[in-house]
Homo-oligomer: 371 residues x 2
């Protein structure tokens, strides 16, 4: 019995990522695969170097096909249940890097239907969150010629037409087994997986070309891709490929639950510099020692220190990160200092992001797909 | 235990309509209600006079609201799994009469998604059948200013947006209990009921006015309307009202199964006059006696005679129908004669229908709703 749980709607317990690879039947992104990626991309994104994107399915096949002149497209998404926090950017920033390196089309699904079906929110509220989130996404600077964003309720004709083709090939018993639906689930959410799988099978261009898609996402989304891969051959598509990330930790601790309803647990993209500094200083779980003396003598536990772990996501410079880690774990650096570094890093990022976000509002419209 | 079964996908056993009213919790269309209808319509459609439309929910409330100056709209549909036969016209002809009498809007849903999910048909095939059926429907001559037809896969954005609001309010266990879905049902068909319920909740006009709908349909569709009525108040709509028809019998016998795959069991709207006559003469189950002598002496059993029963659907003149019934049941008329009368009646109707069908193809486009 594993004592942790990972589903699209619940992550609990201390996640053992090696076990998750076994449980889901995925593959580790190992040194050999990193080498293969590098042949295409020249350098490696920090998330690859640091094993934040750690698992995959068929990424090797995607690269091989590419070497033979074939193409693929990227697909990722966001569930608009509220404002976005910095952790939500992780798969998106990595996706942006992949798009820059491979110059491929990207589809971003905003699942307002899912949030409407799962939460106590109106369609007006989920749509408002959708466009709020889209501003943040566009602000990241995706290639405007190759990026397509859609809100499910606005693209439902296209998605439903593909969704029923997916759904015809999945029995209720498989659906229940994979997603854990019960008799008390509403009859809408149990169809929703077909809508999230649908973009894997978007035919492209006039000829309806059937390209392979590559999905960068946190590994809790994997439930969707296993049945999607089973269905793919029946729809004449290559099996969707995935790269999976580890979870972005709560500010309150490595095993604490990240909760949108608890603003202490994360930094929102709209937080002011003062709020950011206050939250980090007050709430970031420390792996440092109880007293300055102990910290100087024994050093911090980097594995449990959220500030250090967050810097692994946001400090791009490996040498800087290593120096911080070395100093902090050896006692040369105190908790207040690493927290200050994290707050500086986040505020520098957010300053640029918040400016970009304002400009993005006007630019988003051009990227939208609607029926 | 009742020994008959009535669901949207299966009708079997000898249907006891009085028991069905109890089982479904509907009301009989009685003499008092017929009088109320007549106050609006002046005359009564033969299907009302003959108790072919025999059951209802809230028809009295619809009439009352109308008397108080309120409005309603009509909604009916067709599942495009093949060419239409004469029995498929029954609810449509009655709907046409209602529209003429009440001058109200009518929405006609073509459920190509359902047929795709339930049958071994491609989306191309179900769409082909959809437009073939639409030609037959338009040929009936609905008011072009007040009639709106949509094919589900082409109107899926509108329907899905309403469908998720319906679906959020129905649990999987209710859905299974009402429709008999099992773990081997595919995950698409178990969402489909939300798509069939959706048009009950089409907001109308700029203000999104929420009118009551009245659904004329065979009583096997009733499964959809019970949960739709439960959901209505949650969406701020009046409960959808219904009028239910009895089933149109197979040519092969009153209790025989009507099967689209057995062309002997019905008359298709595209059958030639020769085919019609041949089918009626050869296959119409006879309630007459084995020999001419016995028929002359004992007369026919009208209840079991399909030719007579079909004439109840197609001979509008009550006196003519009564005379045929009297003559045939008393032995004055032979089976060959009543079959001849039925063939004449059907061929006269089909001659006009087939001409109208050709013209309808050009006119249909103006009635279509698409996202």
């Amino acid at each position: 019995m594993d004592e942790f749980k990972v589903t699209p709607w619940e992550v609990s317990g201390k996640v053992d990522y090696a076990k998750l690879i076994e449980r889901f039947g995925t593959k580790r992104i190992d040194a050999a695969l990193l080498e293969k990626i590098k042949r295409h991309t020249k350098d490696l994104h920090p998330y690859l170097r640091r094993q934040i994107f750690f698992s995959h399915r068929d990424l090797d096949a995607v690269l091989k096909r590419r070497e033979e002149g074939g193409d693929f497209f990227l697909y990722t998404g966001r569930g608009p249940s509220g404002g976005m926090h910095v952790g939500h950017l992780v798969p998106l920033m990595f996706t942006k890097w992949l798009q820059e390196k491979f110059k491929v089309d990207l589809y971003i699904q905003i699942t307002d239907d899912e949030k409407f079906l799962m939460r106590d929110l109106s369609l007006e509220e989920t749509r408002k969150f959708a466009y709020d989130n889209i501003a943040d996404i566009v602000a990241l600077g995706f290639d405007p010629k190759r990026t397509h964003i859609f809100v499910n309720t606005e693209y439902a004709k296209t998605l439903y037409n593909i969704g029923i083709q997916v759904a015809r090939n999945i029995t209720t018993s498989t659906n229940k087994a994979v997603f854990g639906f019960t008799d008390s689930s509403n009859m809408g959410i149990s169809f929703f997986p077909a809508m999230q799988m649908a973009p894997c099978f978007l035919p492209r261009g006039k000829d309806g070309e059937k390209l392979q898609c590559l999905i960068p996402a946190a590994i809790d989304q994997d439930d969707y891709w296993r049945p999607a891969r089973d269905v793919a051959p029946k729809l004449g598509f290559p099996k969707p490929a995935q790269v999976h990330s580890k979870f972005f930790p709560s500010l309150l601790g490595m095993d604490a639950k990240m909760s949108s309803s608890d603003p202490r647990s994360s930094i929102f993209l709209t937080d002011s510099p003062e709020e950011v500094r206050k939250k980090v200083m007050r709430y970031a779980f420390s792996g440092g020692r109880d007293t300055v003396e102990e910290q100087r003598k024994l050093g911090a536990d980097l594995e449990r220190d959220v500030s250090y772990q967050w810097l692994r996501f946001f400090e791009e410079d490996d040498r800087k990160l290593k120096k911080i880690g070395d100093d902090y774990s050896s006692g040369g650096m105190l908790t207040g200092e690493i927290k200050g570094l994290l707050a500086d890093n986040l505020n520098a990022f957010l300053k640029g992001h918040q400016k970009a976000r304002e400009k993005a509002k006007g630019r988003a419209e051009k990227l939208m797909l609607r029926d």
